[in-house]
């Protein structure tokens, strides 16, 4: 009963509540009228007042203001009438006071003042027309004055109270407005800062990526470049953390759910973790549930971000021992619950500190952890991210022993096939040789043993681990082995045995990234961490695990040589970066520095995909997109346009889509995002899958003729020494040939002038460059002469310099032939880079045919000067947006090398393209 009454009272409005009280009072007055046998007129007054107030209470259009005045005035009338009927004043003072308190509920000072005036009038009536006061009787006068004062004081107080309340409300409203504006400004500030910070970061990271893929830089420079990239990524990570936290805090974090493969995510995360581990003696142990579906739907970036955060913390707070990453799942009706835990043997966390662990900006135990870098945002962000994905994160820890962070996220499944399986598992008999005694922490052997004991069952293969070489040898002699995994230590201790065994068994050495020792070609290597996925990859003969050079670059899984992509950005570094990142896809990449330039280029209607920067002067990306969409023809309506922006604040994607763009990609360009965009928006028929180990396009090398002496020039070893990138190797060879002529003459000149100091320097350089390209014999001779020079054995130099000179010339010719045979003119990467498409002038077909005709005549006449002239004339010209420098410049270059046939071929190809309709 009480519960229901309370529910009822809580639900009714102010006007209805006051009407209820009013009605009760009117009822009481009616009773008084009837009992007191007062005039029936008063009944009519009461009735009329009640009707008016009731109508105003329940009428939909009656405002609270009208109601307040109606109630106040009719209440005064009723009280006044009552007092007149009763011929009394003082008992009705209480009624006036109660009435004042009731109308306080309206919070209107004007109503209160009206009430005050009404009350005063009533008092005056009773003074002059009633018997409220007997003048001459002091007590009576005092009573009246007191009454007057009390009524006035109460009502004035209530009026002031209402005014104060209103003032406070105004102040609060202004504060809220101010807070809202500040929030808005913060969002704008973050948006602008995001752009201003990310733009130069994009340049730094992109340039590093390009340099890392450039085979012409040496390993030391590559290492430095890698370190720059790592530091830049760390800085970007901190900036992203701050921006992410603000996004999450303001409820604007977007979770983008797309299908992804956990194996790929794990690989990325572990590569990053291994880089961050540095020189710490920490073992990474990975425990995987192989039945995790290969296609799960979720926000891969955020999941990766959380894992990286947790791993980074684990690495920071662990000096030795192990970090165990466990990835498992629980099947549910909606998909799976993906569970990931990161356990370490670090310093642990006390129970008191666990309570504040996920609080922002706090690193626990700050005094002790002062040397540990970190903003303290990481775990707070992790918690919010997990929560926004519908999951949970928790921690278990023991101080001094270690910690385990675990998070679980519900995910849908797009492909239920297991993400890890071995082909033809029944035919595999695998063994491993890992000795656990060397580890510095007792936890490591225990965890490794657990993994190893499960691997066979998980992968469905025959698998056994041995802890000493004798046991392995015994096994090898008793039963066939197909695969053998060994630690680097064991390999180095028993090198001869394993080299021999590798003839019949596929041997994989598991090594640290810092280990450097040679293995024969029959033995493969894999970096730690060594876990079920790396075993499965090795057993499937897949190169999912990157080698030293590859991990510093990136994986490309497809090419699109027919695709034409336009990048629009007013910043030439950004253009270069974007071009460089797209280069490995073998697409034709065009660039434009402004919206109008892009629109001009699109008139040819042969662009398949546009990456449009947002913030550009004169015409920004959105405006350019509007203009493109307004152009006539379905082509412009359907052309995929992807926004490129350093502004990664939430909501921008929706904004771009609403403005007519198809999607959005944040700068710095993330390679996985680029990969995804290209896959999603290029015509499917343009996409050609390729091996992940190869950067560039399909194999173009012809096999080298067998009757040549491989020691003179062995492209196989040269390619291996330059990281396996065929394109990059081609460029190195070209450079070797181009510079070789001058170098050869220079060495000869130094010899003839007896400038031994510089002679030694030059043959030293020749020694290493020749080894790099695969000219082992020349390298060996150069080494010999270098040594002779250092020992001042000039007789040997006199004896062998001529041989060097001849051999050098022979190698240059051999390599030139090889380059011409294996790296034809079409598809040369650097020629696809058009720094400023706006500067090119489009010419007609007739004029182009004229140039072609002149060029052909010049080639037939062996006139390289003429071909140079034509190249100079055509360098700023284009035909159907295709720069003519590609063809005429190339032909001129070939002429300089006396490659007349090749030069003619280049011009002929161009002529055929015109005939076929150039695209």
């Amino acid at each position: 009963m009480v519960y229901r009454l309370r529910q009822f009272l809580g639900a009714i409005s102010t006007t209805k509540l006051i009407w209820f009280i009013y009605t009760s009072c009117v009822s009481a007055m009616t009773a008084m009228t009837l009992l007191g046998r007062w005039s029936r007129v008063f009944l009519w007054i009461l009735f009329t007042c009640e009707v008016v107030v009731t109508i105003l209470t329940f009428a939909p259009k009656a405002t609270q203001k009208i109601h307040s005045y109606a109630v106040t005035l009719t209440a005064l009338v009723c009280i006044f009438s009552c007092s007149v009927m009763d011929n009394e004043f003082y008992p009705y003072v209480t009624a006036l006071l109660v009435e004042s308190i009731v109308i306080l509920a309206y919070k209107d000072e004007k109503v209160m003042l009206t009430n005050l005036v009404g009350s005063m009038l009533m008092i005056l009536h009773h003074i002059f027309y009633g018997n409220a006061v007997i003048f001459g009787v002091t007590n009576s006068v005092i009573e009246l004055v007191l009454c007057f004062a009390i009524i006035a004081a109460v009502q004035i107080f209530l009026t002031l109270f209402i005014l104060t309340m209103k003032k406070n409300e105004t102040v609060m409203r202004k504060s809220m407005e101010s807070a809202r504006r500040a929030e808005h400004s913060k969002a704008d500030f973050l948006a602008n800062m995001s752009h201003e910070i990310r733009t130069p970061m994009n340049g730094i990271l992109g340039m590093c990526e390009i340099m890392l893929r450039d085979a012409s830089i040496n390993d030391d420079a590559k290492e430095n470049c890698f370190n720059i990239r790592t530091s830049a990524k760390s800085l970007l990570a901190i900036i992203n953390d701050i921006l992410d936290f603000s996004k999450i805090d303001s409820g604007k974090m977007e979770i983008i759910e797309e299908p992804f493969n956990m194996a790929s995510t794990l690989n990325d995360v572990l590569n990053l973790a291994m880089a961050r581990k540095g020189s710490k003696k920490i073992e990474f142990i990975i425990v995987l549930d192989p039945s995790i579906p290969c296609g799960i739907i979720g926000d891969e970036n955020r999941i990766r971000q959380i894992m990286v955060n947790l791993l980074t913390n684990a690495i920071k707070f662990t000096e030795k021992g192990a970090i165990t990453v466990t990835v498992s799942q629980n099947r549910q009706d909606y998909g799976i619950n993906l569970m990931i835990s990161v356990a370490d043997t670090g310093i642990g966390i006390s129970q008191e500190n666990i309570e504040q662990l996920f609080t922002s900006f706090q690193q626990v135990d700050t005094r002790k952890n002062r040397s540990v870098e970190g903003t303290g945002l990481g775990l707070a962000i992790c918690k919010k991210l997990v929560s926004s994905m519908g999951g949970f994160i928790n921690v278990k820890s023991e101080y001094g022993i270690g910690s385990e962070f675990r998070f679980v996220i519900p995910l849908k499944v797009s492909d239920s096939k297991p993400f890890m399986s071995v082909k033809e598992s029944e035919s595999i008999h695998a063994v491993s040789l890992f000795n656990m005694d060397k580890f510095n922490h007792p936890e490591i052997p225990r965890r490794y043993s657990q993994i190893i004991s499960n691997i066979g069952a998980q992968l469905g293969i025959d698998y056994a681990n041995y802890t000493n070489i004798d046991a392995l040898k015994k096994r090898a002699s008793e039963k066939a082995i197909t695969h053998c995994f060994i630690s680097a230590d064991e390999y180095l201790k028993n090198r001869e045995y394993f080299n021999e065994l590798s003839r019949t068994v596929k041997i994989t050495v598991v090594q640290e990234r810092t280990d450097s020792f040679d293995v024969p070609a029959s033995i493969s290597r894999v970096f730690k961490p060594f876990y079920a996925l790396s075993i499965a990859s090795a057993l499937n003969n897949e190169n999912l695990i990157m080698n030293l050079n590859e991990r510093r670059g990136s994986d490309i899984h497809f090419t699109a040589p027919k695709a034409r992509v336009l990048i629009v950005d007013d910043n030439d570094i950004n253009l270069k970066v974007a071009w460089g990142l797209m280069r490995p896809y073998n697409m034709q990449v065009l660039t434009a520095e402004s919206g109008p330039a892009a629109i001009n280029m699109l008139r040819s209607k042969d662009i398949d995909l546009v990456f449009m920067d947002h913030m550009m002067p004169e015409m920004d990306g959105v405006e350019a997109t509007h203009k493109i969409r307004e152009m006539e023809g379905d082509y412009y309506k359907q052309l995929p346009i992807i926004a490129l922006t350093a502004n990664a604040i939430s909501g921008v994607k929706d904004m771009f889509i609403s403005e007519g763009l198809n999607d959005f990609m944040a700068k710095p360009i993330e390679l996985t995002a680029l990969d995804r965009m290209l896959r999603n928006y290029l015509p499917p028929e343009y996409i050609q899958p390729c091996s992940a180990a190869v950067y560039s396009g399909p194999e173009r090398r012809k096999s080298f003729q067998k009757n040549k002496d491989a020691k003179t020039f062995d492209p196989e070893s040269g390619l291996a020494l330059t990281g396996g990138d065929a394109d990059a190797y081609g460029e190195i060879l070209r450079m070797y040939v181009q510079k070789g002529k001058d170098k050869r003459e220079y060495i000869q000149k130094l010899y003839e002038s007896g400038d031994w100091k510089n002679y030694i320097i030059e043959v030293h350089a020749l020694k290493s460059t020749s080894m790099t390209v695969g000219a082992a014999k020349l390298s060996e001779l150069a080494r010999e002469l270098e040594g002779a020079g250092k020992e001042q054995n000039y007789d040997l130099i006199h004896e062998k310099q001529n041989t060097l000179y001849e051999m050098y010339g022979s190698v240059i010719n051999t390599i030139r032939e090889y380059v011409n045979a294996n790296y034809p003119q079409a598809g040369q990467p650097e020629e696809l880079y058009i720094p400023n498409a706006q500067a090119l002038t489009e010419i007609t077909e007739a004029l182009l045919k004229e140039y072609i005709s002149v060029a052909k005549q010049a080639i037939e006449a062996f006139d390289s000067d003429e071909t140079d002239k034509i190249a100079e004339q055509t360098k700023n010209l284009s035909y159907h947006s295709k720069p003519l420098a590609d063809s005429f410049g190339r032909a001129a270059s070939l002429m300089c090398d006396f490659e007349y046939d090749s030069a003619m071929e280049v011009i002929s190809v161009l002529e055929q393209q015109i005939t076929a309709g150039i695209k």
Binding site: Q332, Y334, E352, G390, G391, P410
Partner: protein, 284 residues
């Protein structure tokens, strides 16, 4: 194969290490949120649920299904000849019913599974589990263990003091008016288990710490009757400093050989709320 296996529901709130050390099989309850279904203790913890509920969202808790119990008992029967499974009180969960049905199904295959209705929750069940384990280790038969547990459960005192009645109201244990009264007058209800049912016992008024001290004192007032071998302080979201104060307060009134602090499971936590704790002990 070992003779008798002791298994229980995860809501017994014993420390995880105890399960591992004594080879106790545990079957987990489920918490359903608006985004998924999570396993108590392994996927979601008490802190997770408290945070979730404090953000204004609701959860549902579920006992394992009959099929899940069958699967669980099957896996345990690979190690043991017979099982004694101790469930949370039948009046507050379907687990006893589901477990009994599962046991009946397995009986057809001549499997021996005995299901015990603890008539308690949280570490009230924990006391029974520890007793069962001790008796098993001493070589007692399943029937003896069962009889002792049936007798012991009447002597267990399970009670908790909650800071407010918010979570009890959310889960339908008390009406809204009771919750409003608690909020208005700063009332702190004590939840007790009587004859297998949840009842509101005393209600303390005023400052929460003072109320807790009074609750501890009252819980341990007849310490002559209490079995001092072991007692539990089971809590939901209490800080370490708060728990230390509770321990000190408990020590003032009754010295136990073992006074173990444990965290409540997510299932129990979702029904009580943060800052809830209970002194769970056994009468002689």
């Amino acid at each position: 194969m070992k003779k008798i296996g002791i298994t229980t529901d995860c809501v017994c709130d014993l420390p995880e290490e105890y399960f591992l050390l004594n080879d106790i099989g545990v079957i987990y309850f489920y918490i359903t949120t608006d985004s998924g279904r999570f396993c108590d203790m392994t996927e979601v913890t008490s802190e997770n649920i408290i945070d979730y509920l404090e953000s204004g969202r609701k959860v549902n808790t579920h006992a394992p299904s009959v099929e899940e119990y069958i699967s669980f008992f099957d896996s345990q029967l690979e190690k043991y000849e017979e099982i004694i499974h101790i469930c949370v009180s039948d009046s507050i969960s379907l687990s006893y019913r589901n477990a009994s049905l599962a046991a009946l199904t397995l009986k057809i295959k001549s499997a021996r599974v005995t299901v015990v209705d603890s008539e308690h929750l949280s570490t009230g069940i924990g006391h029974l589990v520890i007793k069962a384990v001790n008796m098993r280790d001493r070589g007692k038969s399943a029937q003896n263990i069962f009889n002792e547990l049936e007798s012991m459960k009447k002597r267990i005192r399970t009670s908790f003091i909650a800071m407010n009645a918010d979570y009890l109201n959310i889960n339908g244990k008390v009406p809204k008016i009771a919750k409003d009264l608690c909020d208005t007058f700063r009332l702190h209800p004590v939840i007790v288990m009587r004859n297998g049912k949840i009842r509101i016992g005393r209600v303390y008024v005023g400052d929460y710490w003072r109320s807790c001290a009074k609750y501890v004192k009252r819980s341990l007032r007849q310490h002559g009757r209490i079995d001092k071998t072991r007692a539990f302080i089971t809590h939901v979201g209490c800080t370490v400093s708060f728990l230390n104060k509770i321990r000190a307060e408990a020590d003032k009134h009754c010295k136990f050989d073992e006074l173990i602090t444990t965290k409540a499971s997510a299932t129990v936590s979702s029904n009580c709320g943060k800052w809830t704790f209970g002194i769970v002990c056994v009468n002689k």
